[in-house]
């Protein structure tokens, strides 16, 4: 199969800050812009002539080396000193296909801010400080990349995102942040291959472009090395500074069909890596695009869900074990997006937490549930789930007071369900709020007991009025282990004088077992599934 002869665009009139030239492997110029001429301090470059005619005035040019280099498919960099104005020019070339090369020329000014600090003395064992390329060059290389299936030349993007960089700026100052970026860039450039193209993107991201390597092995190896290196300390302004990173990768012909999409795909892979632990890496696969778009739609939808009144509270009855009468209802949030799909709380609650929407949504839940419960018989309570994040800004108490005041609901009829996770962070501040809420007359239940970071310490640290046994234990009550656990929790409740409520009760056998072992209350499909507010009154 013959390579198609590429139709290079005439770039002679392309006005950019850097010089561009298309040449063939013999050095013949196909097209070059005026900046290329200007940077080399030579007569206007004409197509059809050899590049060697234009660089003969530059003594440092080794023609043999250049001739050899042009025939190699690897990308490379060369720096030359221009005698006329003593400037330094960096030439970077990339193979566009078997026969054609792209050369980008840029000057290296002495005040070049980012990473172009050349070591004056050459004592670093021939290692000068590594330099980064320009972002425009990256886009140029990607735009000019010719996909050549016959050679199956590979092209891959490694996108590195520093984690917690904002925090460094906030706590140690922007100067420290800038230096972290500079040193991180140097590390990346230092361990990348000489023919990798490395550049900084906006903010706290870097890109490494790899050509002609065996993928995905090559990007994965480099990604792991970079992640390890970037978590090592930096020495800045007399201090040790730590950061870490995540990496997203995209590889041409391996999930990405066009070079121009590589960066976007690497971004999606990076977003996926960031969802995992710090120091993770992820390679783009087509499913990620769909997921990223769905996530985006979900975020957009969630931002307007309250305004569009797409949330609803459903209520699930809780019955007293002795007289089997309803004593309370748990309020459960439901979201019907755009009047169509019901989105699971397991999906949208974490999203609302990460977006900060949980505060307004939580406020709405409080107000609505109190308002609904105020119209129920006076012996029936309402239980509301509260996210740990709602405790963080200190406004939760105010919102509770307001919801009680507006609805006229007796505080004794409101119960907040919190999870064990709440007591892990900022325990003092949290306990202070819990005591305040309890003093208002509101009761506090420990939800999902036994599933999280269970510690008896947590139960001991606060007089919870109730322990809710997670439905996973009830569902597996036929196993010895679950029965032992449930019994232990029930005894614990009795010993600590806390009520116990079992969730997810679906069979008579489960109900009987719990009744015999002293459980105070139950909820689950056996009693009733969660129902909309207009249906709940029929059950009382």
């Amino acid at each position: 199969m013959h390579n198609a002869i590429p139709q290079f665009q005439d770039i002679s009139q392309l006005h950019t800050g850097f010089g561009i030239a298309y040449i063939d492997t013999s050095g013949k110029i196909l097209s070059a812009n005026t900046a290329f001429t200007r940077l080399l301090h030579t007569q206007p470059v004409q197509p059809g002539h050899s590049i060697f005619e234009y660089v003969q005035h530059i003594r440092s040019v080794d023609v043999m080396h250049w001739q050899h280099t042009l025939t190699c498919p690897q990308a490379g960099t060369l720096e030359i000193a221009i005698p006329e104005d003593k400037s330094m020019i960096r030439l970077q070339w990339t193979a566009l296909n078997q026969d054609h090369r792209l050369i980008i020329a840029e000057s290296l000014p002495s005040d070049h801010t980012l990473l172009i600090q050349r070591n004056a003395d050459k004592t670093e064992n021939h290692e000068s400080q590594p330099t980064l390329g320009h972002r425009q060059q990256l886009h140029q290389i990607l735009a000019d990349w010719e996909t050549d299936q016959s050679e199956n030349r590979s092209l891959a993007v490694i996108l590195i995102g520093l984690s917690q960089f904002k925090k460094i700026n906030e706590t140690l100052g922007y100067d420290t942040g800038d230096q972290v970026l500079k040193l991180a860039g140097q590390r990346i450039a230092r361990v990348s291959r000489t023919d990798d193209f490395v550049t900084a993107l906006d903010g706290d991201k870097f890109i490494v472009l790899q050509t002609n390597q065996t993928q995905p092995a090559s990007v994965v190896t480099l990604a792991k090395r970079l992640l390890e290196l970037l978590q090592r300390p930096f020495l800045i302004n007399g201090r040790q500074v730590n950061t870490n990173a995540c990496v997203g990768m995209a590889i041409l012909h391996q999930g990405t069909d066009e070079a121009k999409n590589l960066i976007q795909h690497a971004e999606w892979a990076l977003a996926e890596a960031k969802k995992q632990a710090p120091g993770s890496h992820c390679i783009f696969e087509p499913g990620l695009e769909q997921r990223a778009l769905e996530q985006h739609n979900l975020e957009v939808g969630l931002r307007r869900a309250l305004l569009l009144q797409e949330f609803q509270l459903f209520y699930q009855p809780q019955i007293d074990m002795h007289n089997r009468k309803i004593v309370g209802c748990e309020a459960l949030l439901r979201w019907q997006k755009s009047g169509k799909d019901w989105i699971s709380p397991a999906q949208f609650i974490p999203l609302a937490e990460s977006m900060g929407e949980i505060h307004t949504i939580g406020k709405w839940v409080l107000q609505t549930a109190c308002h609904d419960a105020a119209r129920w018989p006076a012996n029936i309570r309402v239980a509301i789930n509260v996210s740990p994040l709602q405790f963080e800004d200190g406004s939760l108490i105010h919102h509770i007071q307001r919801a009680l005041h507006m609805s006229g609901l007796d505080p004794q009829r409101l119960e907040l369900e919190i999870t064990e996770g709440l007591l892990i962070r900022n325990i003092e501040k949290t306990l202070e709020q819990l005591w305040h809420i309890q003093n208002m007359g509101v009761t506090i239940a420990m939800d999902d007991f036994g599933t999280g970071f269970s510690s008896l310490n947590y139960l001991n640290s606060f007089p919870f009025s109730k322990i809710k046994i997670d439905q996973s234990f009830i569902r597996s009550l036929q196993t010895e282990k679950s029965r032992a656990l449930v019994q232990a929790i029930l005894s614990l409740g009795q010993a600590l004088n806390m009520d116990t409520l079992a969730e997810g009760v679906e069979t008579e056998e489960q109900l009987d077992y719990l009744a015999h072992n002293g459980c105070n209350a139950v909820q689950g499909y056996l009693i009733s599934k969660p129902v909309p507010v207009e249906k709940i009154l029929e059950l009382f």
Binding site: N125, R190, V191, R232, F234, G238, Q240
Partner: protein, 147 residues
């Protein structure tokens, strides 16, 4: 701050594999290059090595230590770099040495291993100072006995 004198003390795990002579060659190469680089950057210090770990002290200006440390960080021959101390220092204590070396013979090795076994109740201060003193004492002992 530009000309203030700083010292850096760090520990790292050695990733050098091979038999004794390979290891010796690698260490000699590390020392040769670091002495050459340090002379130019006016960095002084000492390197201690046993079969598993490096401990190194660097003395110099902030900028030179930062740049030297960055170059060292990217060297694949070690990993798990832990900084024990990075602070201003009134004077160089290894002023004679562009990179003094304490190998794995003698009492040093034993003392070094002891440091690593020390419970880390205040690892940064304690270990930094101890390593510093250890290097200093042994180097001067070696010098005095013309070893």
């Amino acid at each position: 701050m530009k000309n203030d004198l700083y010292q850096l003390i760090y520990l790292s795990h050695s990733e050098i594999c091979g038999n004794d002579s390979t290891i010796r060659e690698e260490i000699e190469q590390i020392l040769a290059i670091s002495r050459q680089n340090n002379r130019a950057a006016n960095i002084t210090g000492a390197l201690m090595f046993n079969r598993n770990c490096f401990a190194q002290v660097l003395e110099g200006t902030h900028h030179q230590i930062q740049q030297t440390f960055e170059r060292i960080q990217c060297d694949p021959r070690h990993s798990n770099v832990a900084i024990l101390d990075f602070d201003l220092t009134p004077a160089r204590r290894f002023s004679e040495w562009f990179m003094a070396y304490v190998g794995e013979n003698s009492d040093t090795r034993q003392a070094f291993e002891q440091i690593q076994k020390t419970p880390a109740f205040d690892p940064h201060q304690l270990m930094g100072e101890r390593i510093y003193d250890l290097l200093h004492t042994h180097l001067h002992a070696a010098e005095n006995y013309n070893l």
